[in-house]
Amino acid sequence: MVTGTDRVKRGMAEMQKGGVIMDVVNAEQAKIAEEAGAVAVMALERVPSDIRAAGGVARMADPRIVEEVMNAVSIPVMAKARIGHIVEARVLEAMGVDYIDESEVLTPADEEFHLNKKEYTVPFVCGCRDLGEAARRIGEGASMLRTKGEPGTGNIVEAVRHIRKVNAQVRKVVAMSEDELMTEAKSLGAPYEILLEIKRLGRLPVVNFAAGGVATPADAALMMQLGADGVFVGSGIFKSENPALFAKAIVEATTHYQDYQLIAELSKNLGTPMKGIEISSLAPADRMQERGW
């Protein structure tokens, strides 16, 4: 009997496919998310839009909040550690968190190195903007990917850019002849073995969710249509006017992302979504997606 194998860690993410993972900051929100049909919750001290508003250094959540959420629901609980922060990750693992997000939403602890995620029993999810970044994270042991998007903006444009980029690059690798792959690995900055695996499978070896800007049911369905395996919703739910309604509607739109009549129905009378931010109005230093490499 062995724990922490690739199959067990990647398999956990496979079970989340077609589902919605919601950011929550307390037990009450976690229960609303579970009730709405979330496949997991991300326990945080603040949702990304509040992290933006607060400024300063954003760190791992208070373990008490993570524990409160773990005790409140039976679905898996994820939590965020700073990029490269070995101890925050080990603390979350020791608490029994089900998945760790090595996240650019928090202030990076290391501007050069990401975590060596192979060494952990707990699985990790990491953000990516292109295939090079995706393959580097898989090479370090990430068991799940998500687009970086631009967190806390309620603006889907960056997540769309990232999923299109990754999927176009995957298609290119799959179509390439094997003798071209080493040069492609060099130009992407991607581990060669991971590109070989992508070519053999015809897809990424781990699931890739959408994240960073999903604010409405139509946004979630759009990302599914562009090839995401599932959706993370950060500020989009609990910064909307009616979180319980938004949560349910986003879950349904993710399942039936090509049923446009249904999406029309469930988008009616939802109230106001979170207030969004136009990306070009963000100062370069406020762009979270530039964190990590």
């Binding site: 062995v2 956990m12 496979e14 079970m15 589902g19 089900d98 998945y99 699985p123 879950v251």
Partner: protein
């Protein structure tokens, strides 16, 4: 050729479809209850049982699934799917489908860090089946007509009751299709009986 549906509300649908096709049967993702009429057997995949239940209720699948069971068509639940099939759930007053005479406990091996792989002896299938357990449930109690197919650490992790097959682990996550082939055979036999 027989057709096997995979309930596609959430979870590991693609893997089951590939596994069924590797066993020489036709596989269909079932997103709407009307599509159940087209299939001879149904797989309830792994995923989050609470999410699947919400969507089953929302899209009025419950009666159609129970009717499918009443018609005697085989159903195979893996992990969350086993939870959906069970007649009793530890800590819950009501079951989901409640068609298979077993009592199931959710997340009974612990959280994700306790998830594991182990080789299993499965009666009539294999002596060394690579089984992947992810936040897995297990069968606490089985009714008298339930045949126990596999145990791990003294806990029942695979069982069959006539047309119903259930397991705690994820046969769809490996390249070993022997357990799926066992279900495909159940579906073939059930279909032959219909025409006798």
């Amino acid at each position: 050729m027989i057709k096997i549906g995979v309930l596609a509300l959430q979870g590991a649908v693609r893997e089951h479809i590939q596994s069924v096709e590797a066993c020489g049967a036709h596989a269909i993702a079932i997103k709407h209850k009307e599509e159940l009429k087209d299939v001879d057997g149904l797989i309830l995949p792994g995923g989050e049982s609470t999410t699947m239940r919400r969507l089953i209720d929302k899209y009025d699948f419950m009666d159609a699934l129970k009717e499918f069971a009443r018609e005697g068509k085989p159903m195979f639940g893996t992990c969350a799917g086993l939870i959906l099939l069970a007649k009793n759930l530890v800590g819950y007053r009501e079951p989901h489908l409640g068609v298979m005479d077993v009592t199931v406990e959710r997340n009974s091996f612990g959280r994700q860090v306790d998830s594991f792989e182990a080789d299993l002896a499965i009666k009539g299938v294999a002596s060394d089946f690579p089984a992947v357990f992810i936040r897995a449930p297990h069968i606490v109690e089985a009714g008298e007509n339930v045949e126990i197919l596999a145990k791990h650490d003294g806990r029942i992790v695979a069982a069959r009751e006539g047309q119903f097959l259930g397991c705690s682990f994820h046969p769809e996550l490996t390249e070993d299709h022997r357990f799926t082939a066992y279900f495909v055979k159940m579906v073939k036999e059930a279909k032959q009986k219909q025409f006798v």
